[in-house]
Symmetry: C2
Subunit: 526 residues, 2 copies
């Protein structure tokens, strides 16, 4: 069937969903052990998506299935991984799925087989890592590299950083932590100066990440790093590798020990499983750990091809998100991992979601009359319980919650304190929160101690956060965001909203003639 692109509010399913009496859906009435067992979908690599505490009834789910069918979400995903131009604004294919496995037919650009190209880059990285880890590739004073520092911003920072932190203790515990990683992103010189203050530069390898090779912040930070290395008597060219596109000014320059390539079909926020994440994660943990992340992501990608929403976790999650955004009218979503290793995963998902779907025009550049992507924020639990959960429980707005939890910690050391280990306490807290939000608790005497309940959440759970389950977790959200973009009929793969700031920054640095800009520039000491 040929693909058709239509706005959400032009679908029949939209009208059907509008006509559902959402207020009649009560979690207090609906939630049973049977529902908890039934409202559960495998999400890859041992993860399970449970949506029993979402405000959905069978009627809603059936309508969402019709919406998925009508908007041809699976067909559009197929189109994407077969190499169609699904980023119409930039006239580009979108191929991050191909980084972790072949979902459809081979994708070529001209005569270039892109799957082979990505695999080749990964192999180059693995070979380079072997050289570094065995001490064959060393710093300019002959010392082995012990630390690796990524210089990059946005997608070149948030995803790789979140994944590094998610695996660091896991790897240390298992003797797999080959190099400590650090990250420099902000153009504020305090960022680079702070990171560099704690390092022995002679044993530090830097990874400069910029697809275009022109990112202002990244190039400024490169120069700060080079100046510090020169001052320390080091040959900077022997301490930096580049991750960039083949056509960038950084590619194959003698200023870098090596260059690893990405291309225009890997968007920044979708690049964690490319060389952008691959170089630093492979250096830190070894290429095999990175391969496990890819394998987990590929498993989730394969599951995302199922047209039955009740069997496709990412698709179900996406559609429930649309239900919450456009029919229940909730403006935000919180990401709440009960897993300290995921401490920066919410910041990555914030970019992934808000940069992809924070759009006001459809893929044909027509203004939309309905809401698109929500505000996404979050912190790990139990920390958040002692912070912003007050508003989540008793505030005047309802915020849908995305919980993430595991049976086992990544590290083995734990103690029984007052009858339970820390890990059991963590899981018990998560259990309690899911119930508290859904079911509330009445207090007729004191409205200040009354919990209304009916606050929706869902849960992604598994046995342990491993590189493989982490990969599946990452891909789950990438695919969720993609399906939502298709449903809203927007282009989730461009980011024109960041351009005006870049243009005006240049104007300000060149000495603007706009008196208003000049006034602010003066206040800020430009």
């Amino acid at each position: 069937m040929p693909l058709e692109y239509r706005n959400l509010d032009a679908t029949t399913a939209y009208t059907g969903l509008k006509n559902i009496d959402a207020k009649a859906i009560s979690l207090k009435k609906l939630l049973t052990p049977e529902r908890i067992a039934a409202y559960s979908i495998p999400a890859g690599a041992g993860l399970t998506y449970n949506y029993a505490t979402k405000k959905v009834s069978d009627q809603v789910l059936n309508a969402l299935q019709r919406l998925a069918d009508e908007q041809q979400l699976i067909g559009k995903f197929e189109d994407l991984y077969h190499g169609a131009i699904v980023n119409p604004g930039e006239k580009r294919m979108v191929l991050h799925h191909l980084l972790r496995g072949q979902l459809g037919k081979p994708v070529t650009y001209g005569t270039k087989d892109l799957g082979a190209f990505y695999a080749e880059q990964q192999q180059k990285i693995a070979d380079f890592c072997a050289g570094v880890h065995k001490g064959k590739i060393k710093g300019s004073t002959g010392k082995r590299f012990k630390t690796v520092v990524q210089i990059g911003i946005g997608g070149s920072d948030l995803g790789p950083r979140a994944l590094y932190l998610a695996v660091e203790q896991y790897a240390r515990e298992r003797g797999l932590l080959k190099m400590q990683a650090r990250f420099i992103s902000n153009v504020d010189p305090d960022d680079a100066n702070g990171v560099l203050a704690g390092l022995d530069l002679a044993t530090t390898l830097f990874i400069l990440v910029s697809k275009s090779g022109t990112t202002q912040e990244t190039l400024a930070n490169e120069q700060l790093v080079r100046a510090k290395m020169i001052a320390a008597g080091l040959d900077a060219n022997k301490h930096i590798v580049a991750v960039t596109s083949e056509t960038s000014p950084l590619a194959r320059s003698s200023a870098y020990v090596a260059s690893f390539f990405i291309d225009d079909f890997i968007g920044g926020r979708y690049s964690s499983t490319s060389a952008v994440g691959g170089a630093i994660l492979s250096l830190a943990f070894g290429p095999k750990v990175f391969e496990e992340i890819l394998a987990g992501a590929h498993e989730a990608d394969q599951l995302a091809r199922n047209p039955n929403i009740r069997q496709n976790a990412a698709l179900m999650d996406a559609l429930i998100g649309v239900w919450e955004r456009n029919f229940l009218l909730y403006p935000c979503t919180a990401i709440l991992p009960y897993c300290q290793a995921l401490l920066r995963f919410p910041a990555h998902l914030q970019q992934l979601d808000m940069e992809s779907n924070g759009k006001s025009v459809n893929r044909d550049n027509q203004r939309l009359k309905y809401s698109t992507g929500p505000v996404v924020f979050g912190e790990p639990g139990t920390n958040g319980q002692h912070s912003f959960y007050q508003l989540l429980h008793q505030g005047t707005d309802i915020v849908p919650l995305q919980f993430i939890g595991f049976k086992e910690a990544q590290t083995a050391f734990d103690l029984d304190v007052e009858g339970s280990t820390s890990e059991k306490k963590l899981s018990a807290n998560l259990t309690a929160q899911i119930a508290a939000f859904a079911l509330g608790r009445e207090n007729k005497d004191n409205p200040n101690k009354h919990f209304e309940g009916e606050r929706p959440s869902c849960l992604l759970h598994g046995d342990q956060l491993t590189p493989k389950s982490l990969g599946a977790l990452l891909a789950h959200f990438e695919n969720k965001v993609m399906f939502q973009g298709f449903t809203w009929n927007i282009n989730s793969f461009d980011q024109e909203g960041v351009q005006l700031g870049k243009i005006l920054t240049k104007e300000v640095l060149a000495g603007t003639k706009d008196e208003r800009l000049a006034a602010y520039a003066k206040l800020l000491g430009v």
Copy 2:
């Protein structure tokens, strides 16, 4: 005049504000260099609050002044610092202002002068720090302490951590970094295990922070730390100090090297300027740096007593927030510091704001019909520009923005790259963003490249983030949140919304009979 408590929607000013045609207020029309100069208020310690890019007209400001007068906001603040019971639910005074200086008459509890009590605790901390820094107080194997680790959660973690990070590079650059600090908060054992993996326990001093002495997470982490110390052959009792209340089980126990006290009148999220922040910040940077933070906070507190909203930065910020929340109907606020040192300051403000004002009942426990505290989130710029700013610029919802910026970095090393230093680039980017959000840029040919503008922001700016300006920044937001609470007629100082989770956690750990809780507990391995 006696104080009266009435709901926001029961005021005359409310009706006046409702009747203003907000859509007629256009930043594109209003923003001029004159407005930028005029809409500016000193915020203490060299900070300035600029609200020229807020969607307010003189008509709005006059109505907000009437609202401030009618709700007796300054009178209620006076009542607070004179020691009235302004936390009615818990029947407590609210005295964090007293930690940094006397604003009103002496406050006593029974015969105890509380100002003197807080000063005494600060002096005890200073004396203890002198002992540690001079090497008179050492670890159990006779080694000097080099690292200090705070064990605490929520207010015992977020504020102190944000402040530590905000001063770390400043102090290092100036030779004031006496001890490196680390933080353990989450009950997830991976948190403690990860922090401890990088430490030499023989030279590490821990600060256990729990007002009640019963915080589940903190006590569990204490036992993990003690077990590790015992395994390393150390006497744990010589490596931990306690920050707690005088009546807590931790107070004056021989299990701790020393105890520093807080009391019930210092709420967790308002405790950064008490011993909760004071112990770790004084150990890390010396007591004088902590005193500067207090001095800056006191300056901001003094300015917050001015009844003229055009001369009271915190009050103006609070009232504009109410205008945005209840009349422009914006559900979120983003905190965007262009200052890497403030990387965790948004997480602290998220707690401060959402835990204080995420309430649905008024101070008399009556259900409210209007919105209270917004969702608060944020990350440092320029990082955020490469992440969620897409939605801020072109999403379907409008998010008010709180920018923070400084003329100078905290560290001196910087380079001119392509005509400007990194610090100038940072300030130029901030300048550009303020203008881009307010003014937008038309693109008739391509709606995808069109920027509507009219997206409001405000700017807190100063010469440099120093301990003193940091103190003022902290107090600005504490006072803003307090004034908003008074305006909404809610109790900003309790947090009943966190209680149900604690109760249910105990039920789960005890083996719940509720089949739904049991089902989730099983999924999560409790």
